[in-house]
Each structure stands twice: as C-alpha cells, then as structure tokens.
C-alpha cells in the first residue's frame, strides 16, 4: 500500500470523526419532510442523474 492511499485513508477517517457529531445533531434538529417534499427532491435529483448520464453518453459516443 503506497503513502498516497495511507494519507487518503487518514483524511477520510478524520472527516468521519469530525462529521459524526454534526450528523447526529442535524438528524435530531432536522424537521421531517412530507412525502410531497421528498418527491420533489427525488425528481430534481433524477434530473441531475439524467443529465450526468447524458454527459457520459456524449463522452462515450465521441470515442466510438
């Protein structure tokens, strides 16, 4: 295992240590979303996923 991987692992562990308490706090303090609100978010993220798929397809088709 090279140094780059070891430092990457350390970086991720440090992020987890710092994010853990904040995540707990945000889960406790976040209000509950309605089904309608989650549907809107799902739709927007689906749009992002479709856009990324389009970019991947256009990148792939320029090679083939």
């Amino acid at each position: 295992m090279d140094w780059l991987k070891i430092f990457s692992a350390l970086f991720i562990v440090a992020m987890l240590i710092f994010l853990w308490p904040r995540a707990g706090q945000m889960i406790r303090e976040s209000r509950k979303g309605t089904i309608d609100e989650w549907l809107w978010v799902g739709l927007l993220l689906l749009g992002v996923a479709a856009f990324v798929a389009f970019l991947m397809h256009s990148m792939h088709s320029t090679v083939v």
């Binding site: 970086f11 945000m26 976040s30 209000r31 979303g33 993220l45 992002v48 856009f51």
Partner: protein, 221 residues
C-alpha cells in the same frame, strides 16, 4: 413627508437582509472560484506531484473545522475563505493535469466544467426562485455523506473501478442535495453568514467537478 414612509417594516427589513446575504454570497463565490482556478493553473504550470492534493485537502479541512468558525464574523474570515479555496485550487492542479494527459483529456475537463456549472446554476436557481424550504434534507444528507465516506474508505483497500464510479455518482447526487439545502437556508433565513454559505456552496461545486471528472474519465475508457 410622513414618518410612515421613512420607516421599514420588520418583514421588508428581513427581506433586505436576505437579498444582501444572497448577493454577498454569490459575489464571494464568484471571486473564490476565480481565485481557485488561478491557483489550479499555477499548480498545473508547476506540475506539482499528486501528494500536494492530499496536503492541500488536509490544510483546507483544518481551516474549515478550526479557523473558519472562529473568524467567520470578522475581517479575518475573508482571508480564511480565500486561503481555503486557494489551497483546494492548488490541490486540484495535479488531478486536472492527470486528466489532461489522457487521450481527449481536454474534452473531459471542459465537459466536467460545463456540467458542474449547469448543475449548480439549475439547482441554485430553482431553490432561489421557488423559495421552497429544503431544511428537512439536513439529516439525510449527513447520513448519506457518512455512508459515502465509509464506502470510499473500503474502496481504498478493494480498489474496485465500478464502486469508484458508483461513489462518484453518489457524491454528485449528495452535493446536488447540499446545493438545494444551502440555497434554501439562505432564502429562508436559516443562515446569516455569507462566508459560511460561500464555503459550503464552494465545497459542493468542487466535489461535483471532481466526481464528474472521475465519471467522464472512466466512461471515456
């Protein structure tokens, strides 16, 4: 002139504060993105080694966790934000250099750049103009972030290209969620500090760009 005309109601005062917060945040975001791009250019020109990326990430995260919360409400906060974004730009140089050396690498980098801009502008504009409240996403986004980080840690040891691509996709969706969440916090007075908002939005843009580079580079192969 009556006194009524010269006084500002609390509602319009809060609207003014929100508009000012939005204007300051986007102005600061534009400046930091330009500065970050310049630093990435310097790093690419100097052909810095990949280890610089990690060192800059450690440095910028230390500034975000320990320095920014203490300086965000003072003039020093401005310097901290430029230091954070400058370091992250410097760390991005070796990554961009790597993709530019691939066949058709310039197209990968330009597509990732355009794609990142399109995703950010579309989501931010939606949250700004619809004025919807996305504050309910906070807990979900943090749990998602922890799950992705754990999977990334696992993939460092297993080194599966398919998992790496799936994780990049997950990061793009998570960061898109953070853009909605942060913009809605600005609009609905959940946050009043433009420096904190700038760093938060900058991190989302940065992560979307890096993940798009990874996905487009892999799909090119």
């Amino acid at each position: 002139m009556s006194l009524q005309n010269s006084t500002v109601s609390p509602r319009s005062e809060s609207l003014l504060a929100t508009n000012q917060l939005i204007r300051n945040t986007y102005l600061m975001l534009s400046l930091t993105l330009i500065f970050s791009a310049a630093m990435a250019g310097v790093s690419m020109w100097m052909n810095l080694p990949p280890m610089i990326s990690l060192i800059s990430m450690f440095g910028s995260m230390a500034l975000i966790w320990f320095v920014l919360p203490r300086t965000a409400r003072s003039g020093a906060g401005l310097v901290t934000v430029f230091a954070i974004t400058g370091l992250m730009g410097l760390g991005l140089g070796p990554t961009i250099n790597y993709y530019l050396h691939l066949e058709g690498g310039d197209q990968i980098v330009m597509t990732a750049l355009g794609g990142t801009g399109a995703i950010f502008l579309a989501l931010s504009a939606y949250a700004l103009f619809s004025r919807r409240d996305f504050s309910f996403m906070g807990g979900f986004l943090m749990v998602g972030m922890i799950v992705v980080l754990l999977a990334m840690l696992g993939n460092l040891f297993f080194d599966l290209p398919a998992l790496s691509m799936a994780l990049s996709g997950a990061v793009i969706l998570l960061m898109s969620g953070f853009i909605l969440y942060d913009t809605s916090r600005m609009v609905n007075a959940g946050e009043d500090n433009y420096l904190m908002m700038t760093v938060s939005l900058y991190l989302s843009i940065f992560n979307i760009f890096v993940s798009l580079l990874n996905i487009l580079g892999a799909s090119r192969d």
